[in-house]
C-alpha cells in the first residue's frame, strides 16, 4: 500500500507546491511528456504522487481516494459540507494567498459596509421587485457568511469566471470573489466592502479522514516528522 498525495497539476500553484515539499527534502516532479499527468516522489518511501485539478482535490479527499492533498483552504470550505468532519488541516503552506471579499460599484458612495449593503439590498428589492444579486462561485462560503452576519434581501447568482464584469453587464449588482491585489476589481470600477472579509485563503495541505490509513500509521508519522507538521488526530 502507498499513501496517495494529490497536488495541483499545473501552473504556479504546482511549482510552489513542489518548492514547498523540496525545501523539506521531498522531490516531487512530473514524469513523461509535458502533457502527461503523471508524477513521481523522491525522498520518501511509499508515497505516490497524483496530479489533479486543484478544484477536484476537495472531492477526492472527501471520498478518501487520496490520503493527502494540496488545495486552497477556500475550495475545501466551499465544496465540502462540514469540511472539518471530512478533512484535517495539516499545514498552511504560505503561498496561493487570496482573500474572498464582497465588492460593489465604486460609484456607490453610500455603501461601504455590510450594514450599508443590507440596507441597499432592502431598498433595491422594493424598487426592482427582485433581490439584489451577488455573483459568485463560492456559494456555500458566501451564503454561510451572509446568514451569520444577518444580511437579507439578496440572492446569489452563479458566476464561474469573469465575475468582475457581471455588474457592468447587468447580471449582478455586487460580487463575491477572491482577490489578491485588487487590480481587476479597480479596473472594473468595483470597490471592496471595508468589513466583509469572508475568508483568507492559502494553499493548504489536508489529510482525508475517509482514506484507508490501515497499515500506514508509521509511514504517516515519519512523513509528518519530515514535513514538520503535527500528526493528524483522525
Amino acid at each position: 500500500m502507498t499513501i496517495k498525495l494529490g497536488v495541483p497539476s499545473k501552473g504556479r500553484l504546482m511549482e510552489q507546491c513542489f518548492d514547498w515539499f523540496a525545501s523539506r527534502g521531498l522531490t516531487l516532479r512530473r514524469t513523461g511528456s509535458d502533457r502527461e499527468y503523471a508524477g513521481a516522489v523522491e525522498g520518501a518511501e511509499g508515497l505516490e504522487l497524483v496530479l489533479l485539478s486543484a478544484g477536484e482535490i476537495p472531492r477526492e479527499l472527501a471520498a478518501g481516494r487520496i490520503h493527502l492533498g494540496v488545495t486552497g483552504s477556500d475550495l475545501v470550505r466551499d465544496k465540502l459540507a462540514d469540511w472539518s468532519a471530512q478533512v484535517v488541516e495539516l499545514a498552511p503552506m504560505g503561498f496561493g494567498h487570496a482573500d474572498l471579499i464582497i465588492a460593489v460599484p465604486a460609484a456607490w458612495a453610500d455603501v461601504d459596509t455590510l450594514e450599508d449593503l443590507d440596507a441597499a439590498a432592502h431598498a433595491f428589492r422594493a424598487a426592482h421587485g427582485f433581490r439584489l444579486r451577488i455573483a459568485t462561485k463560492y456559494h456555500r462560503l458566501v451564503r454561510d457568511y451572509l446568514t451569520r452576519e444577518g444580511v437579507a434581501d439578496y440572492q446569489l447568482v452563479d458566476s464561474q469566471g469573469a465575475t468582475e464584469g457581471t455588474v457592468k453587464n447587468l447580471t449582478a449588482e455586487a460580487i463575491a470573489d477572491i482577490t489578491s491585489s485588487g487590480e481587476t476589481l479597480r479596473a472594473n470600477h468595483l470597490k471592496i466592502l471595508s468589513d466583509a472579509l469572508i475568508h483568507q485563503s492559502q494553499a493548504t495541505l489536508f489529510a482525508a479522514r475517509a482514506a484507508d490509513w490501515t497499515g500506514e500509521e508509521a509511514r504517516l508519522a515519519a512523513l509528518c516528522q519530515q514535513l514538520g507538521v503535527a500528526r493528524p488526530d483522525f
Binding site: 461601504d112 451564503r143 455588474v167
Partner: protein, 356 residues
Amino acid sequence: MASKAAARACGERLLAAFAAAGAAEIAPDILQPAEVLLDLYGEDIRARAYVTSDPARGEMMLRPDFTVPVVQEHMAGGAEPARYCYMGEVFRKQDHLGAARVAEYIQAGYEVFDREDPEAADAEAFALIAAQVAHLGLTATIGDIGILRAAVEGLDTIPARKEALARHIWRPQRFHKLMARYAGLEPAPATRAALLSGLRPGAPWIGLRSTDEMEARIARLRLDATAAPIPAEDVARLDALFALRCPAPQAPARLRALGLPAIEAAIARLERRLAALAARGVATEALRFDASHGRTTMEYYDGFVFTLSAADPALPPVASGGRYDALTRVLGGGREIPAVGGVIRPGLVADLEGAQ
C-alpha cells in the same frame, strides 16, 4: 429509526385525527414552482431545497414545506373560514453530517384560516397538535413574535430605525448591531461623515441600481444622523424582553414588569391565548414561555409560535407551528387572512413510540 411504512401509518392516524376535527384534506404537488419560494425565503431556501428544471415549467423545487402551497390553494378560492389538513413528504438538503439529519421526511399538518378571534384559533391549532403527541412526554415552548414587533414599534425613535429593526427581528445578530448603532454605542463608519458632506467618488456609474436609489439612501442617512440616540435604558428593556424565559402563566406579569407600555395590547392577546388554551384543556403551567422563540428558525411566523420537543437535544422538534398572517398578505395578491397552524413529524413520533 422508524421505517417509512411506520412513519406513514402514524401520519395517516394524525391525518384522520385532523380530519375528525373538521379539516378538509388537501394534497399539494410535490414539485412546486421555485420562483415563489425563492422570492419569499431567498438564499435560506436555496441552500436547503432540491431545485430541478422542467423543460416547460422552468425551475421547480421539491416541496420544502406545505405552508406556501396550502396558503396558495386557500387564496385561490377557499371558503372562509377554512381548516385544512395534509400529509406527505418534504425534502430538505442537509448541509451537516449526522444521523438525525434526514433529507426527506413526512409532515402531517393542520392549518386554520379564520378572521374571528385569532387567539382562539391559536389555541385550537396548538391544542389539537399537542393532543396527538401528548403520550410522548414532550416539552412545549411558546413565544410571540407579535410582542417583539410591538416593542420595536414602541421605541422612541424615527420610523426608519424602527422599520430597519423590525425587518431584522429574525436575524438577532444584525438586529443587535443596528441597535448598538442607534443607541450611539457603536460609531458610524469613518466614511459616513465624508459621504454626508456631499463627497462623491469619481468612479463611473455601473450596474442596475440607479443614482436616485443612492441619493434616496443618502437622504435617509442624513435624517438618521440628526436623530437622537435610543436611550440606554430602552435598549436594556428590549434586551430584558428578548431574554425573558419563564413558565407561561407567569409570562404576562413578567412582561408587564419590563416597563414597556407599547406591548400592553400584545400582552393582553397573550392572556386571551393562555385562557383559550386552558379552556381547551391544555395545562398551561407546563408550557414554557420564551420571548425569543422563533427568532432564529421560523422567519415567516409573525405572531404566536410553538414547538414540542423530545428530551434529546440532537432531535429536531417533533411538532412546530405558529401564526403567519403576513405570509397570506404576500401570497394573497392584495388580500389577506389571519392564519395559524402547525406540523407534526410522524417519523419522529414513531421513533419515540418505539423507544417507549
